[in-house]
């Protein structure tokens, strides 16, 4: 579903992502782990077509994001780490806008907005302006907007930050549901327990370079993901 091939991105002299290759297949929840500034957000933004990159290739369902960004974006949903949404819209207006862009039919959007707004307990607040939303409510709205066009690939940057325990639990279930239906999830997180419980595969990145990847069992072996992560950080230091 998502192939990252020898991705390299530099900012001036700093190499944010260095020759990174990853392959996320349909049905997989793929965790992306690394310390602050490791290059996770840069990689994620490049995969969503938000940020240009210097070399390498990114394929979404076999289509190059460089050559046909619109075709790729129509299959992707992106949830950023900090949900800055249009504060001049109400929640429902924002969802309607996203649904219009993805050309979601009238029946489908009604059904999916109703479903996910109920799941995230946001239905009553949909008529409120987004400027009146708390951080958590904005995060929920960003998640709902990502789900209402039934994407094949969901790319998320720290999706659980700001979500209450109930919403985080619901999101985990939804993530699993998407993968069970043939979709794929690629997300970054600092919460290693979440990654350990939720992910089928995981990749650890440091200073833009991939230092370990594979199935959860391959990466952690007999220890916990946390010990592996700390060990790798120390080894590399």
């Amino acid at each position: 579903m998502l192939k990252i091939i020898n991705l390299t991105k530099t900012f001036g002299d700093k190499c944010a992502v260095d020759d990174l290759s990853l392959h996320i297949q349909s049905g997989e929840i793929y965790g992306f782990i690394g310390h602050n500034g490791a290059g996770k957000t840069t990689t994620i933004k490049a995969c969503c077509g938000i940020m240009d990159f210097d070399s390498g290739e990114i394929l979404v369902d076999g289509v190059s994001i460089k050559k046909d960004p619109l075709a790729c974006k129509s299959k992707i949903a992106y949830i950023p780490d900090n949900p800055d949404l249009y504060e001049f819209m109400t929640g429902i207006q924002y969802l309607q806008f996203v649904a219009d862009i993805f050309k979601v039919s009238k029946q489908k959007r009604s059904q999916l907005i109703e479903k996910y707004a109920d799941v995230f307990l946001l239905t009553q607040d949909l008529a409120q302006p987004i400027s009146a939303y708390s951080h958590g409510m904005k995060q929920k709205l960003a998640v709902i907007s990502a789900l209402i066009h039934e994407p094949k690939l969901v790319i998320m940057d720290e999706p659980f930050v700001g979500l209450d325990p109930v919403a985080a639990h619901s999101l985990k279930q939804i993530m699993r549901g998407i993968c069970d239906n043939g979709g794929a999830i690629f997300f970054s997180t600092h919460v290693l327990e979440v990654a350990e419980k939720l992910c089928d595969k995981v990749a650890i990145i440091k200073e833009g370079k991939l230092i370990k990847s594979g199935t959860m069992e391959q990466v952690r072996g007999d220890s916990s993901l946390e010990s592996v992560f700390l060990e790798l950080e120390e080894d590399d230091a």
Partner: protein, 529 residues
Amino acid sequence: MLKALIKKQALELMSFLFKSAKSGRRRSKGSILLYSVLMIYVAVVIGFMFFSLSITLCSPLVSGGLDWLYFSLMALFATAFAVIFSVFATQSQLYEAKDNELLLSMPIKPSMILFSRMLTLYLQSLFFEALILIPALAVYYSVCGFSLYGIILLFVIPLLALSLSCILGWIVAILSSRIRNKSAVTVILSLIFLAVYIWSYSQINKYISMIITNAQQIGQSFKNVFPLYQLGRAFVGDIADFILITAMVLVLFAAVYAVLSKSFIKIATAKHAAAKRRYVRRELDTKSVGSALFRREWRRYLSSPTYIMNCSLGTLFLAGAAVYVLIKGSYVRQTLASIYNFNSQFQSITPLIVAAIICVIATMNTITAPSVSLEGRTLWIIKSLPVNSADILSAKLKLNLFITLPFVLFASASAVAVMRFNLFSSVMIFVIPLFFAVFIALFGLAVNLRFPNFTWSNETVLIKQSMSVTVSIFGSWGIMLLLGVLSYFALLVIQPVFIMSVIAVVLVITDIMLWRWLMQKGAKMFDKL
């Protein structure tokens, strides 16, 4: 502790001088000096304005025995001036101060926080009142000699303005937090303020003459208006009225201060939530991608009074000019006829001048100039969605044209209807402003793609002072000036009809080229943002 609080308030008050609102960084010494000179210049200009007013009013009123009326009027102006400028400061420094909760969490008495805030607000009111009262007193003393009452009242009257500002600021804070459509209310109030300002400015001389000519009658009427009569008499030295006015002001201020001091914690931490709107499930409509993008721009525009008032004033003035020309049609025709009698050649260039006037007014609509930068921190949304950049730019252009073109056409139609030009000139009066307005929209967007800014924290600074808006406004004026100069020299050798045709053709070609550039290269530039 109080000293530290006052120092903090003073730093906050003067921060605009030392810190750039745009970057948040400390200004350079040269910049501080420049701003200081500018502020002093503005104060001197306002002071001089009221000095002239004082000179005009003082002698006639004093010679008529109405020196109290002179002070009633000047004190009334000063208080109104101070209240208008202080009411929003009261709101931001007292009721909605960002550091209220932080300071209340520290071991500081709430009364001390309030006192430091009130002191700063008093100094602000004193400054605004002094701009009017110092020239007024200076003129009066030069005519009638010095007296101490006026000087004392100069320091007492700001307490009245401060008390009124506190009361009004409280009402504004409550209303602004409870009103759902703040944007519309702000725009309507701003328009009313603008209309009143323009009207007052145009009528001021008439009213000053009226006051001077009918001073005795106005004085008689004022005598019945409590406490204006007493206020005027207090300034001229009537001890009873001086005590009465001073006592009234002090009592009012003490009452306001007592109420605030008693309820400061409640006020400072109050959250006046707007009535919550519950979502009611309904059938959802669908829109095409183009309509959805246009709607997004439209909603952004309507949500920001700053955007509306600063970037579409042209619409207001075009509508105003069109209505004025229609109402005063016969007067416009008579004026033109008298000019034609004096200079018959003027008749042939009138259509060119009319088209130029409409174009100049249309340059005030700079909606596209900050439109790319306004994406700000939400740029990720549109960039992650499957939308062509050309469609995004088109939606921004459409908004500008939607708000500008109908009014350009209205202004052209009213000019043509009233001034009765020949067919060709009439067509040109439609064509030139129409394509010039399209050019302004295209030009603003192109400039913003060249000078984007997504790191702003203050929308007002972006809309009023950003590089793209500045370049767009001055660039369009420069182009107008260039066209004017070229037309002036061309008129020496060719007919105005020919010049208008050339301008129209140049504008059409420029618009097409700029449009193509935006849809191709401009879209690629947007992709790379």
